[in-house]
Each structure stands twice: as C-alpha cells, then as structure tokens.
C-alpha cells in the first residue's frame, strides 16, 4: 500500500501521453479489488461482477481526461461502478422478466446459488438479510458498513443528501438486524 501513488500524482501522470498507461495501471492496482467487491455485492455473480468491472474501467479510461477533480478519484470510480452495476441489473431483470416485487427473492436465489453457500455462516446470513433491502438502502448499507465510506462521499456518488443517507442507513441496519434475529 505504501508504494501506491497518490491520486493527484496518478491524475497528473494520466495527463501525459507517455505515462498514461502507467497511471491507469496504478488505478487498477489501487482500486480494482475494492471496486470488484462493491460491484459483486450488488450483482452477486462472480462472472457478472467481472464484466461490470471491465465496463466500469473502460468508462473510467475514456472519461478520466474529463475528470474535473472536484470529487475524489475513488468517489468518481465508485460512481461509475455503481451506475454500471445498476444498469446491468436492470438489463438482467428485464431479460429474466423479474417483477419488481420478486426482485428480493430473485437476488436471494442468486446468492444461494453461489459456490460454497452455507446459510449457517454469518457472512451468508448477513448477505441474505441485505438482499431483502430496497436497492437504495442496499447501496447505502454496503458503502457504509463494508466500505466505511463517509456520508459526504456517498452523497456525491448517490446524489442524495447526507441527512437522507444517514436515515437510509439507520433503517437499513435495523432491517438487517431484524432479519438476522428472526432467522
């Protein structure tokens, strides 16, 4: 971690044609794993997560020159990854003809189909509970609980006020807790 470049340095390098590829490699090594898991928690499936990650990185590559730096780089990357994940899920739901009210069950089924699924393990129990959340609450929960993202950053990613995000998180946590205790 210590030899990773600062975002400012990465962006400076990206602006120079000769160091552009190196800059992007730095972004990959610094953020791709975090982005991968952010995406995976939303789309569940490993292969889907890979595809969405690739699309997100291509978008980042294409758009990085226009990145205005009024947000942090990782916030911007998360925003791209989030949008790509949600678009992907929308398409997948349409293809599978899933009705709105069936989405939580559909997501739960996908999770249960994961290799190594064990409903007795806390990690899986927690994931099952999270799948019952509405999409927005799920996003807020994931970003705050797992990634420990400050609300101000989340606000930039999701375009929602800090107050609303705190309320969403509170509701989400309570729902998840209830679901786990009922189980």
């Amino acid at each position: 971690m210590s030899n990773q470049l600062h975002d400012g340095e990465i962006l400076r390098m990206f602006g120079i044609p000769g160091t552009r590829e190196k800059a992007f490699e730095s972004i990959l090594s610094k953020y791709q794993e975090r982005l991968y898991w952010h995406i995976r928690r939303l789309v569940i499936d490993h292969e889907d997560a890979n595809d969405v990650l690739q699309n997100s990185l291509i978008r980042a590559w294409k758009g990085l020159n226009g990145f205005r730096q009024d947000a942090q780089l990782y916030t911007w990357l998360y925003r791209i990854a989030t949008n790509e994940s949600l678009s992907f899920l929308e398409q997948k739901k349409k293809k599978a003809a899933v009705r709105m009210e069936d989405v939580p069950q559909w997501m739960t089924d996908q999770l249960k189909a994961e290799e190594g699924f064990d409903a007795e393990q806390m990690e899986w129990k927690l994931q099952l509970a999270i799948q019952q959340l509405p999409e927005k609450q799920k996003l807020v929960f994931n970003l705050r609980y797992f990634d420990e993202m400050p609300y101000e950053e989340m606000s930039r990613i999701l375009g929602t006020s800090v107050g609303a995000l705190k309320a969403s998180y509170h509701h989400a946590v309570k729902k998840v807790e209830r679901a786990m205790l009922e189980d």
């Binding site: 990959l28 898991w37 490993h46 994961e114 990690e123 899986w124 994931n142 609300y151 946590v173």
Partner: protein
C-alpha cells in the same frame, strides 16, 4: 492518553487545562464550536462519526459481526481476484489502454500476410546482396515461435518495411504510405509468396507481427 491531560489544545473532545474558562459540557455544539474557535482551540467542526462507532451505536449485533471479520467478501477461499483473474485483468487493461483497438485478422489472412512478409524478406535480401540464410530457413523447426528462429531479426523486418513501403510507392506511383497491414500488402502485391515459406512464417506469433505493423506494443498472450 488520560483525559484532561491535553495542553496543546489540538485533540478534540477534551479541554486543555490551560483553558481560560470552562464551557459547560452540555452546551449546544454550535455555540461550543464558536467559543472554541474564538479562543483559538482549532476544533471548529464536529469530527465525523466513524463508521465503526456508528454501527455499534445503531446495532451492537452488526457491530460485533464487523469486529469478527464479516466484511462482505464471501467465498474468498474461492479467490475472486485470484491469479487467473489478475492475469486476465492485466490483459484486459492492456486492451483498455490501446486508444485505437487493433483490427484482428483471421488466420487465413494472417497466413497470407506471413507469406507475403517472408517473400519480401527474401526479395530484400536479394536486392541488398545479403546471402539468404537458407539453412536457417530450411531448418526452422515447426514449433518455432519467434522471428529469430527463422534468422530474421526485428531490425531486418524494420529495414525491410521501411524500404519496401518506399519501393511499392515508387512502383505504383502512389505516394500515400499504407496505414493498415491490408493496404500495405495490397499495395505491394505480395501474395504470391512461396508456399513453403508461408508454412514457416505461420510460426511467427501473429500478435507480434500485428503489433509491429500497427506500431503498438505487443500484447501479452
């Protein structure tokens, strides 16, 4: 650090002993901040609540889970970012970082291209009176995987390309430098290369040739 031990006035949440007056603990946060700012304490904003403290406050159960390593990364023993994946990402990254995607040619066209290049190399060597290393060519193993194995270095190819482009331009009076391998081969009318050479040239990794002709760094396969 024990409470009420601060004298530098930097650490939030405690009162330095040297404070000229004490502010009631239950004072409204905003007024407290204003007072602290006024006396130069420096703590002018509420420090954001950490995610860990927050989850402990809202749900001790989920706080406990977090402390016990539940991190939303299931199946980590089936590595999601394993070596294969990392390798794949490298390749994909290499794809991404090519601003103009390289046009792929199918194997038939590559065979023709390879034959053409081989023919031209022979021509070039004849033109420059350089003896053709027949033995090397004839003895090139079927499994040869590099340009070196048929006795032509990249410098040779480079020189050949430079000369050949000029040569073909002079021949047909076209001064435009071909910009794609197809244009290049078409303009030079090189497809009548000996069959034997074509076979040998098939052992050249196509991505190297492609990368060379397209002037992009070769991609890792």
């Amino acid at each position: 650090m024990p409470k009420h031990k601060h004298t530098d006035g930097e650490t939030p949440g405690h009162w330095p002993k040297a404070m000229p007056f004490r502010v009631p603990v239950n004072y409204f946060p905003r007024q407290r901040r204003e007072i602290l700012a006024a006396i130069g304490h420096g703590w002018t904003t509420n420090p954001p609540e950490s995610a860990r403290r927050e989850i402990d406050r809202i749900s001790p159960l989920l706080g406990e889970l977090k402390r016990n390593g539940v991190n939303g990364r299931w199946n980590e023993n089936r590595p999601a970012m394993d070596d294969v994946q990392t390798e794949r990402n490298k390749i994909d990254a290499a794809d991404i970082v090519q601003p103009a995607p390289v046009k792929r040619m199918d194997s038939v066209r590559w065979g023709a291209a390879a034959a053409a290049v081989a023919g031209l190399l022979l021509m070039l060597q004849l033109m420059t009176n350089r003896p053709v290393e027949e033995e090397s060519i004839a003895a090139a193993p079927a499994a040869a995987t590099t340009m070196d194995s048929i006795a032509f270095s990249f410098e040779d190819i480079s020189a050949y390309l430079a000369e050949n482009v000029a040569f073909s331009s002079e021949m047909d009076g076209n001064t435009t430098t071909p910009s794609t391998p197809e244009q290049f081969l078409a303009s030079a009318d090189l497809l009548a290369a000996p069959e034997g050479l074509a076979k040998q040239m098939e052992s050249i990794p196509v991505y190297e040739l492609e990368a060379y002709i397209n002037d992009v760094p070769p991609m890792v396969d």
